[in-house]
Symmetry: C2
Subunit: 174 residues, 2 copies
Amino acid sequence: MADAKSSKPDVTALSHVSREAFRDGMAHLAGAVNIVTTDGPAGRAGFTATAVCSVTDTPPTLLVCVNLSSSVAPAFLQNTALCVNTVGPDLAELAMAFGGKLPVDERFVEQDWSADVTGAPCLKGAAVSFDCHVTARQEIGTHAVLFCEVLSVVRADSPSASVYYARKFHALDS
Amino acid sequence: MADAKSSKPDVTALSHVSREAFRDGMAHLAGAVNIVTTDGPAGRAGFTATAVCSVTDTPPTLLVCVNLSSSVAPAFLQNTALCVNTVGPDLAELAMAFGGKLPVDERFVEQDWSADVTGAPCLKGAAVSFDCHVTARQEIGTHAVLFCEVLSVVRADSPSASVYYARKFHALDS
């Protein structure tokens, strides 16, 4: 996997905005609720993320931001299999479990999971699942941005999704 | 600005998913509707983007994906000032104008804009505006990912935002 640490910005001195003002502003940038999973040599792990977005369709690529100090970071940095499962309001409780302090293995107990192309856990009942191979990463401050080529897409017939906005879940119908 | 072209992935051969299947899946990954602007030596420009997300609060950083073949790309790649303006349903028409074929200068005619720290156009009436300095970029296929340190955040008192999901705008209240 390519590693782009050399382009880490060195501009801390420029920062005029407090961490609190940034977080408060970011609470008003809505994001889809995704349960992001991995499996492989470094073990199975998963967490809930809104910091996921499309990058390009050539080759089909998305990105996921991972906090380097989180308990799941080692698995996501060492494995190359990753699945983004976008969930709807029916899976809000599971999204909260994956976003909380529950030990990693207990997070996977309640729901049905399957392996698609890469072996990362794909969630049955997700609005859409993107099964990916991590192809590059870039570290920025406390986080790593993982660039992921999408190898398989599984979409529900009548998906409904949730977004996180103003520190609450909001349901969307398609 | 640091440039991380060396970590561009070279994995096209792995791709098992068609561009259409990827786009259809991505239509079900909801994203906030943002009018992203720039100004500087390469001129003023702006476009509508959902591919924007938070990266880290240390230092406060977000990212924006830009299509390298778009008419606005040269301005975004050469200037270092960038403003992400998250908009609500009252600005849906403006978001469509910035997402369409209207010549760049005509996009700015209808609304009030101001310069904050960097000089990039901040939109009056946005739910939240993040005024940024572009600190690094990474090219992935057809797109560049711009990493942006946030220097100022301006938030409306009672913001409402829009997300784009299933190829439609959806309104959110805070």
